[in-house]
Symmetry: C2
DNA sequence: GCCAATTACATGTATATACATCTAATTTGC
DNA sequence: GCAAATTAGATGTATATACATGTAATTGGC
């Protein structure tokens, strides 16, 4: 089994980027009917779990440059999936899932769960292992200065 | 150990995309002094290993849309890292690493090896496991129609 | 061999992504 | 409390990425 049709790559980064592309195709096929991209779905889901967070905190959680989020959040705010208000610190935005956004997430959730289920089945128990290793690596290489919040 | 500073994400796709972003930062920091992006380095390395391939074959290997490669290859061809010539089938391009490209790869290789080594150390033996699981998943979800070449 | 279907790549468009640089707000030293 | 240093996010720019669609070449059916 596992009759490799893809040549292995010598580079860990290239390998994980390739897997991310493959997964992105699978998941975007799933949520496309709801007008969502992978990143957008992820942000909806994270906001739903995390409640109110600043743009910078969201960037930390996703290991994504805060200025990258400026563009994606602009799209999502325009579509009224997210509400933003200034925090006590007037430089930062407090972000929250709007009712529309929560509804949007709810609608797409079954399609996402299907993709998620398919991955679990294909990996035959290995998906938890994969997630754990991926998270260990992310934690290990994500710069420590990013901590201070806890 | 492994005092998780990052919250786990419920989504396999989001998790792997996050890891890919973290890895990309590490590896791009390494090869940036040589004017290379992660994707560009990967293409140099793959061409060095694979010899002459068509654009479509390269897309299969990287699980990347062939039309995406059009843009990246245009950049790399402009910089003379790659030579393209029409194949017997005049629709396709036969791609090859140029001497300049091979030199470019050679120059950046030690910096890449450092990043690679750092990942290996951080993962304490788990990096092979991670690569294997990632490749299994990629093979499992990559559409089978993509085979015919072997 | 011809026409229809398919294939390989190009192009238009939208989003994702990061870095350099900029501005405004906050924090730190004194 | 003020000036200097830092921080949060915005903006300009370049690349990465995929999909829809277009064009030219190839293949398949007859």
């Amino acid at each position: 089994m596992s009759q490799s049709s893809l040549p292995p790559l010598p580079c860990t980064c290239a390998t994980l980027r390739r897997t991310a592309r493959a997964l992105t195709q699978l998941y975007e096929d799933a949520v496309r009917p709801y007008g969502l991209r992978a990143t957008q779905f992820t942000i909806l889901q994270v906001l739903s779990l995390a409640g109110e967070v600043t743009q910078g905190q969201l960037g930390h959680i996703l290991v994504m440059d805060s200025t990258t989020l400026t563009r994606t959040l602009a799209i999502m705010t325009r579509r009224r999936w997210i509400t933003r208000r200034r925090g006590r610190d007037k430089r930062e935005w407090q972000l929250q899932l709007s009712r529309t956004g929560a509804l949007q997430l709810e609608r797409a959730l079954p399609a996402w769960a299907n993709a998620q289920q398919l991955v679990k089945e294909q990996m035959d128990g290995g998906s938890e292992q994969l997630m754990k290793l991926a998270n260990d690596l992310t934690n290990a290489i994500t710069v420590k200065e990013d901590r201070r919040d806890e």
